[in-house]
Subunit: 572 residues, 2 copies
């Protein structure tokens, strides 16, 4: 099926999911040693892991499973199948008799109703119940939206009720959040209507996944740590320029209460009946972009291989996974799978901007080859961390064998690394067996040692330069005068030793979305540096990064429907 | 305990709830004839009734239980205990060996973090798990917020993507919604930031409970009816003045998908272990203000007495329950409990505005007597519907026996109706036995016939006048010229035969919040009339009604905390 050049008709993700006979989640978790008592059930097929279970696993003597990170080359706007590969690869390991667990991010309603559709994998590599996972699921995103907006509400209420903290209304750092691609809320003026409603000021909304609250949830160890992180969040500066925190406006307790269940990892099943964690998921362009550490940690105590994904490419999610998440969580990846696609290679090879997805359907092996420089740069980025890299060519129905072979040959012959075709979308775990085997071999034979890109105690500028030149391929870094002031203040506030999260477009390795391939000879400009004091990192802003996307002309939502008996269509 | 004049120390609602040994919801529902198969579990203690179960009950031959409506006199800002009485009365019926079910509204996070605290009853008359019910519960409010905002997002996206429907940006009828008392969002300007973000326009947020989406959910029969109602919602007018619906902007399917689980009634347990429905809950000042019809309908097939509540007083929730909900749902109330409190009577007797709650703690039987005119007006309002009325004096710890007796005597001697002291807050069901017995007698001996206040086919002005003069006690009604145009247009659009929902302050029987007692000699001004075409009623706006409250100076949220082990404090 996968080796034929003929496009194959695959039913929709939803149709595939509907055909699967799922088992109760209490049964699904048995093989990894969890019992019903370890779970809080949300229906038959979904559960949250209790804090007691998390604590027990944390104290267990069992060796942690190996961490395999799935990341990608610079993607087309449709994505290249990182979640599909993550779920499929996990199925593949289990298919081979190994004990592997996936830990992936929770979908946001924004993209679900916008362009991308579901984010629970696809084809025969999905996590189920995909319909719930893609909609309200266990309510974690809603809890985060509420928690985020409670802080904003209490902040504006504090200002309106006398502003005892002398908050500078022009230096409020905490926007509002919504889990919807509602671009009209990007820039707003609030507090209109006269004295009764407070002080008019500029404000804006960000997508919930872009909130520091999400990053905080994904990095917190337990409730006490969550509460501490929430309290540290800087929400504004006062008239003297001092930081005003969530704790100062007395929001810490109530916010933590709103998040107490959201902190518990969600457990579901893959389409092949093995357990999987789906928990958290911040933006990889303004936060760290991986699922929760609490889920990773639990999953590693329950498996020999934890397969997890990082948002966007090696320049964004993967770099942050290595330098921020592994550092904060005390983890080391054992191997990385770099997801490439013929489509994305043609996108780079044709130097296409904006993306014309239809044009990418035509077989064009020369365009594929012309796109290798993007793939190569991502491979080099990952190899720099001292971690073995195996390229997964995620095969799409229209790809020709000649195109796929060209990529595999390039990896093996030109880059000297292993590569495997992945057909997990069409074939499930069986379609990822080759990839799984190559990863196991890579882990076994690896002689390198994982290392961070930068010393976290180095000056902030040095950390930024390391990422810019060694990962993005920039020649130089220009730090604007505002950003220079920011850095000075960060040092004064005692944040100088935090890791740096770069906020950059995901459409290019560079800071210019229109540049494909592996741009060279350019200068990275830093506009602003601010602390995510709750999460525990600094954010360095490059050019404008969209924190609240919009819907397209024909949004996915417009094509959705539901029967009288509850069967949905158009959702995926 | 209740007959002593000494105030009694009652533990907090949360402490009481924590002491209760709850049973699995699957066991709790057994006595009313439901099985595990009828439920979708959300943890051990909460479930949703499946559509199959609802359909089976709908087709059952079993006689419907009697409907007992709980409403109140004009309340102080703290509320007079309608939910406490509703839950306690249900417990009382069961305590007496009768089969009764409560159906109450879902709390909104706005008040939970603001002034009122929890809304799951209180003391020994609560629905459990009260902590979940007061926070995210089964996610219904969050689903409604998302559904509401998806419509707003698609509307602004339509305008931005070329505005094929010629929507008049100055006549958008659909605000945004948030489940948070965030007054700064009451009046906003959105779409700022230049061409990329769309067209700047005035907008505002309302509380989710104030959204027509909530009214639609609470009145829908099933998924098909929900979808139809959603599609009919008028979201804007076009350049020709024609209505633009949710269907026109292609939001119907996706919105219904977001609400498909929220439509299923939630089943929990009372503190005394009997099942209770908690589902829906729109504002009674701009919508109909009662829990969902779908829950009422199911509960009546499972019980001999359905105890349900209507928001605010007889002028708001109860009037709408009679004229709108009973009409649309084909129900007739068998009796009404009017909740009075010594505190509220003193509030009226002292003609107090704004409320000084501390001043109401002092014993003052003369002030109580001076407040009777408010109570009397509510009794007359309810008697006008041909329904027996029993007054429940909800006893608060500081009330003196002399005060309570004065109210009971007044009802019996001056009004000639039954009245009972209710101590369900302190004593649970046992404290409502007298009330329950009087209600049963009232139902048995009732010789009157229920009738609507107005003929729904009467002219819109006539319907408004009937409510204004016969319920509110106004002398006359002035309909402004804008409102007169609105009425003309409503007739043209074919909405002339819909029932009318009056939007009026709940702080007074009149349209002036400062006027206590039973104001006479005043004129009700109608500012605007608009259709809630999805819900199926017209809304007539009187003076300004707040659809997005704000937080007080010392919000409840500021006093909340959570231990490392997850025990919350300050929440209730």
């Amino acid at each position: 099926m996968a080796s034929s050049d003929e496009p194959t008709e695959v039913p929709t993700d939803y149709e595939i999911a509907q055909q699967v006979e799922t088992r109760p989640i209490t049964e699904v978790v048995e093989p990894v040693g969890l019992t019903e008592d370890d779970l809080e059930l949300y229906g038959d097929e979904t559960a949250k892991l209790t804090f007691d279970a998390i604590e027990r696993l944390r104290n267990s003597e069992r060796e942690d499973g190996d961490v395999i990170l799935v990341t990608g080359m610079t993607p087309t706007p449709m994505g290249e199948g990182k979640t599909v590969t993550t779920v499929g690869l996990t199925q593949a390991f289990n298919h081979l008799g190994e004990n592997a667990l996936a830990a992936v991010r929770e979908p946001s309603l924004g993209p679900v109703f916008g362009v991308k559709g579901g984010a629970a994998g696809g084809g025969y590599s999905q996590v189920l119940p995909m319909e719930d996972i893609n909609l309200h699921f266990t309510g974690d995103l809603h809890a985060l939206t509420s928690a985020h907006n409670l802080v904003a509400t209490m902040l504006d209420n504090h200002i309106k009720q006398g502003n005892d903290l002398d908050i500078d209304v022009n230096r409020v750092q905490w926007p509002r959040a919504i889990d919807m691609n509602d671009r009209a809320l990007r820039e707003t003026v609030i507090g209109l209507g006269g004295e009764a409603t407070g002080i008019p000021r500029e404000d804006g909304f960000i997508l919930t996944a872009a909130s520091e609250m999400m990053a905080v949830l994904c990095l917190a160890d337990d409730l006490a740590d969550l509460e501490e992180r929430v309290g540290r969040i800087i929400v504004a500066y006062d008239e003297d320029g001092d930081a005003v925190t969530a704790d100062d406006i007395e929001a810490t307790g109530a916010v933590t209460i709103l998040l107490k269940d959201a902190l518990k990892p969600n457990v579901v099943q893959t389409i092949e009946g093995t357990p999987a964690f789906v928990h958290g998921g911040p933006f990889a362009n303004i936060a760290h972009g991986t699922n929760s550490l609490i889920a990773d940690e639990a999953a590693r105590k329950l498996s020999d291989y934890l397969i997890t994904e990082a948002g966007f490419g090696s320049d964004l999610g993967a770099e942050k996974f290595m330098n921020v998440v592994c550092r904060l969580g005390g983890m080391e990846p054992a191997a990385v799978t770099l997801v490439a696609s013929v489509r994305a290679l043609k996108y780079h090879g044709k130097d296409m901007w904006p993306a014309d997805l239809d044009a990418l359907d035509e077989a064009d092996v020369e365009a594929v080859r012309a796109g290798f420089e993007n793939l190569d740069a991502h491979v080099r980025n990952l190899q720099g961390f001292g971690v073995p890299v195996v390229v997964a060519v995620n095969r799409f129905p229209g790809d020709t064998s000649e195109e796929v072979e060209a990529v595999l040959d390039h990896c093996r012959e030109d880059l000297g690394i292993e590569a495997a075709e992945s057909t997990v979308f069409e074939e499930g775990g069986a379609g990822g067996a080759d990839l799984a085997e190559k990863l196991m071999t890579a882990i076994e034979t690896n002689e390198e040692t994982f290392e961070f890109l930068y010393d976290v105690t180095a000056p902030i500028e040095t950390k930024i330069e390391a990422i810019a030149t060694e990962i993005y391929g920039a020649d130089s870094v220009s730090i604007g005068s505002d950003a220079r002031d920011d850095i000075e203040r960060m040092d004064e506030l005692g944040f100088g030793d935090l890791p740096v999260v770069m906020s950059k477009t995901f459409h290019s390795l560079s800071d210019d979305a229109s540049k494909k391939g592996a741009p060279t000879g350019w200068d990275l400009e830093i506009q602003e540096v601010y602390p995510s004091a709750g999460a525990g990192f600094l954010v360095a802003l490059t050019s404008d990064v969209l924190t609240l996307p919009g819907l397209p002309d024909d949004p996915a939502a417009a094509n959705m429907d539901i029967d009288d008996d509850g069967t949905v269509s158009g959702l995926f």
